[in-house]
Symmetry: C2
Subunit: 307 residues, 2 copies
């Protein structure tokens, strides 16, 4: 058996925003319509090495490949790869040794797609919470869809905020630091908030005070939570997967805090398919990340590479 | 990133019975002692292609690698590979493109180890149920441990029985066809039965009539079952994993048939560690296969190959 191993540079050579947006959109809509297989993820923990490994699998019915993704984080360093398997024969088609980038991109694409779909046309500024890789990507990928938006950046370390602003500026994206917490303007002017932190307890409520829409992408595993439960009160909530968001998303945290019922959420895929007209004071998109996003993205990469 | 892909021939060049027996024995004992991680397997189904894919992960605490195995069966053709990951760094160490052989070998090794540990010293003949790859391997691997045993082969197709006998003979293993069902001698003389079939309903009770020990390796996924529940009555039962065997092993089938209680089983690993002295009229080993067997075997292969 020969197994094709595709490295990150080769992957980068064919990945475009259009490719990832298209794959992720297709996957989320298929998932909303029950045309996917997404077994519960597997988790292994390595406390002695400050590490964990998540294994996610996914398949969009009728497509050419399914994918098994191995994503590990050891001492804050991400690693991983995707194994792409032929869905007609069961033969491994390729290993995408993407160093975790495809996951980062599909997460950014999902966030950008749902944010774009749900924020009103007159929103001008977005507040990004967090200063890491996903903070940068959420701004960058949303910029593809809404080039006229500007950004505020909030983080606990001022030097990290400054660093991210410089990176965004180099990519042609306008950003300023968010006002200090407690200062008069904190959170003001940001009708849209995108939370990208690995927080395990709620971020300050003040940050969400004026938000008409919030997208959260940080709750990718049990034990995390970044959105204050109280912002869910009376909000329209969309989830990428009902059960998974109830299990370990901010939606589940809010349900357990008795702020809203467990059956009120709509699906991200249905909103992407049908569009969204706000009827509540606030909308919230809870994204926990699905194996079908990996599968659809990986399959699109394989197709773009040629076999 | 470079990813080492090790093909089947290279794997064969270092795999010895001693390597697999040692790895599997270590893994099963560690599992019995709670020193392993074995997340519930993931399953994807592809009915249009008569296929399914099982993903199993495993880790023996304190060892160098963990393993994620992707095993698919499409139109009765097995495929698969094992991804071996460094447990200190999370970096993929290698892909073992073993075409499913390591799973076959570790399954055979586990069956042979527990059969050898549990059958009385005076057993002379073993009845193998089934004529497939695992039927051959159970005889072959047990032959390493108990070279003086002879075999009866039972299968639904006489030509498959003849074929397997010829293969075993070529490997120096003595075998004869099992007596016809209903004939005077059916099942007689076989104090030990090893069931290796993909059956989804119980095999004829007659086959087990004189068995003082039964090892079953066929129930690797929900929906299968080969051992008649009634043979569990009053038997000493050992399981490779209590929860997994209760979920989809023959042990679980017997519990659901109300033949025995759900909490009577001992662990395979404890028997391998401590030995076994029969106290009941019959003993039964239910093996469903564990990701830690894969992990330990794959790690031993990597070590033998050198890095």
């Amino acid at each position: 058996m020969t197994l094709r191993v595709v490295g990150l540079e080769e992957i980068r050579s064919v990945v475009t925003p259009e490719l990832v947006f298209g794959a992720v959109r297709t996957a989320l809509i298929a998932h909303a319509e029950g045309r996917t297989q997404v077994p519960p993820p597997m988790v292994l923990d390595f406390p002695a090495s400050s590490g964990d490994c998540h294994v996610k699998a996914g398949y969009v019915d009728g497509t050419a490949h399914f994918t098994v993704k191995i994503a590990s984080t050891f001492a804050s360093v991400n690693n991983g790869l995707m194994l792409v398997v032929d869905a007609a024969t069961g033969e491994p088609a390729a290993v995408l040794a993407d160093e975790g980038r495809l996951t980062a991109w599909r997460t950014a694409a999902a966030g950008a797609l749902i944010t774009d779909a749900m924020i009103p046309a007159d929103v001008e500024e977005v507040l990004i919470l967090g200063t890491g890789d996903q903070a940068r990507l959420q701004a960058k990928w949303l910029h593809h869809l809404r080039p006229h938006l500007t950004y505020q950046i909030w983080g606990r370390r001022p030097e990290a905020v400054t660093h991210l602003m410089a990176i965004l500026k180099a990519e042609g994206i306008e950003a300023r630091p968010a006002p200090e917490l407690g200062a008069a303007g904190a959170g003001r002017g940001a009708a849209c908030v995108i939370a990208t932190t690995p927080a395990t307890s709620a971020l300050p409520f003040e940050l969400f005070r004026d938000a008409v829409h919030v997208t959260g992408v940080g709750t990718d595993m049990p034990g995390k939570g970044e959105l204050p439960p109280e912002i869910f009160a009376g909000a329209t909530v969309v989830t990428d997967d009902h059960a998974q968001c109830l299990d370990h998303g901010d939606f589940g945290n809010a349900v357990r805090a008795a702020v809203l019922a467990a059956d009120v959420d709509l699906s991200v895929g249905a909103v992407l398919r049908d569009g969204f007209i706000p009827t509540a004071k606030r909308s919230i998109a809870d994204l926990t990340g699905l194996g079908v996003q990996d599968a659809a993205t990986a399959s699109a990469v394989i197709a773009a590479l040629g076999r």
